[in-house]
Symmetry: C2
Subunit: 382 residues, 2 copies
């Protein structure tokens, strides 16, 4: 069935409300039968008990057509796994984690989205920045600086739009002129948090996205924040905890990050600050790597594969740290004159979005430079 | 030759000035011939070229008898390896490091000492706390708190008496009512640093020690601080770097600590503080463990062998974390009534100083309690 078939989107809209996420049994049924047949059986009540337990309460209580209309009125849309910009690679980690027994490791059945940008491309190089709502000025400063630095290096900042660290990270990304993705824990029509209504608007107007697993009208609730956190962890190539009390939502996101096998980072802070206690615990446990700058975050999250460390051991070739894609881009660059990113994409055979992500990283690593005539290769001085 | 033989102390006094430490060739000669014969040959100029290079300039330029008299006038003494309170165990690490190629890993030929306490006993449970002279209020607060906490847990604080972190650590130990050891980089008669003359006096009057490898009159110098740092690292069971710039004396002490195979710890701080950059680098390299409290320092330095971590994995016996000596003390304790530390020493067959160190640690671990009638065993509730 094509993603353009309206029955598919309608079925996914239905599925996104009929069960409270994460709904592992319903997800299995959808994987088995496809969304349309699964939605139909759920609606009729013709499902095995595990699915029934997840869906019985709401199965005839609403009309998905109204949800889609409400979303349209909000300038929002329903993104479904059958769409090309669904972040399949990112969400595939849930299956691996579930296979190892993580019961909550269930991908969303659909995502309600505000903003025009293609999600899959935005999160191709992305880092989650999370932290306490009651952040200190220190924490907010660092979150903003990390947001700016990552944006300037072409990395998308993913966070939860909460007060404190989340907001500072989104703001930093906007300052750094990069798209940022906010995953919220309520319907897109709910003005939450009230203090961030303006920020949410700016996120969208600056090329970013607001995502929610919840259809319009769904109110934020404590368990929804925790469930939402798994999506933040999944959409980031790694997670940075900037400030966290000893038991905070951020340490919950950290746990999801570990479950999904993603790199976990923590920003050290004053050991006598209650807001740094959670970070210290993550560092002491050995589960998180200490980071203080955007370059260190990229190095630790490792997604882009360029080793930015300035302490190579022993003699090494300048391109030793490059992962295959970065190496292909590097090799596509001329030594003199210059190429546009589009020409490099043609030359390297890699998608333009990937090339656009890798070129600034190569520049940072001292292996490429943007001149008046475009990009050319640099011989790094090691 | 007995340590009481005056020729021995005179020879060591001579050796302590004739070469600028560390003097590996002279040290080898002394190990080979003994101090008296070695001093005699050096004085006559009858030594192989490596030793001659280290000693020729000063071999007849002074009278060691005057140095000993000057020390006596200062209420100081010369501690020599033949004395029972020489910290042989601590300095034995130098031989191991030298065997692995560390050229500077040379123990002192003697130590000039102010204070009455027996050095070997003081450093049986000791931690070095070091850091920047231009510390921030944050760093000084943490250094003081660590000093207090370690002293209260019966751990001796070793440091360098410098302004900033060193001074704060010594002061903390004094507040915590524990002995503290300052290793200085000049003669004991030199009032250095000028701002710490009162602190140095208090260290001694509170049962601590001032140590120097340098005889009276020797001025502080940059290379002497670096050479001195190896003694701080050797006398601590582990080293905590509280604050450090990217290249500071503290990172030099950290390097010595690693060379000697001792646990290295660093206190995290604000990542945007220049004084925490050195600590962040140590943490990011993986060479240092992050610590924020005295209990975490003891856990990480591991000398006393009791695991203070409150997150045991899986079922475990209450005494699983105890190293052999601690276990012997624990087993020597009665379940009812009580024993004095002296009686526990008899019962366990361990030196009283060791028992005195381990009992408070067992108490902290919830495995022992001091009552009106003395010490008794506790069954910890895990």
């Amino acid at each position: 069935m094509s993603a353009d078939d309206p029955r598919l989107r309608l079925a996914r809209a239905y599925l996104s409300r009929v069960a409270e996420p994460p709904a592992p049994a319903l997800h299995r049924l959808v994987t088995e039968l496809g969304a349309v047949a699964a939605a139909d059986q759920v609606h009729r009540g013709d499902v095995p008990p595990p699915v029934s337990r997840e869906t019985e309460a709401r199965r005839t209580a609403f009309l998905p057509r109204e949800d889609l209309a409400a979303a349209e009125a909000l300038n929002a849309r329903l993104l479904i796994p059958e769409d090309p910009d669904w972040p399949s690679w990112q969400f595939s980690s849930f299956a691996a984690a579930a296979a190892q027994g993580a019961a909550e490791a269930v991908p969303p059945l659909a995502l309600w989205v505000r903003g025009e940008a293609p999600l899959a491309e935005l999160v191709e190089r992305a880092v989650a920045i999370v932290g306490s709502r009651s952040a200190t000025p220190y924490g907010e400063t660092i979150a903003t600086e990390l947001g700016i630095g990552l944006a300037e290096l072409g990395v998308t900042v993913v966070s939860g739009a909460a007060m404190g660290i989340d907001g500072a990270a989104h703001r930093g990304a906007i300052i750094g002129n990069g798209p940022t993705v906010a995953v919220v824990a309520c319907g897109l029509d709910i003005p939450y948090p009230a203090g961030h209504v303006g920020l949410l608007r700016r996120i969208v107007s600056h090329g970013g996205l607001i995502l929610s697993e919840y259809p319009p009208g769904v109110q934020p609730a404590k368990h929804r924040f925790l469930v939402r956190n798994r999506l933040i962890a999944a959409l980031g190539g790694g997670t940075v905890v900037v400030e966290a009390g000893i038991r905070s939502g951020a340490t919950n996101t950290a746990a999801h990050t570990r479950t999904l096998g993603r790199p976990l980072m923590a920003v050290p802070g004053p050991v006598n600050s209650a807001m740094s206690v959670g970070c210290l615990a993550l560092l002491r446990s050995g589960h998180a790597v200490p980071v203080g700058t955007a370059a260190q975050v990229i190095e630790a999250s490792g997604r882009i594969g360029i080793d930015l460390s300035d302490t190579p051991e022993g003699p090494r070739r300048e391109t030793d740290g490059l992962e295959p894609h970065a190496l292909r881009v590097h090799e596509a660059l001329p030594e003199r004159s210059g190429l546009s990113a589009e020409e490099v994409a043609v030359e390297s055979g890699l998608p333009l979005s990937r090339v656009r992500g890798l070129l600034p990283a190569l520049e940072l690593a001292g292996l490429a430079q943007r001149g008046d005539e475009g990009w050319h290769r640099l011989r790094a001085n090691r």
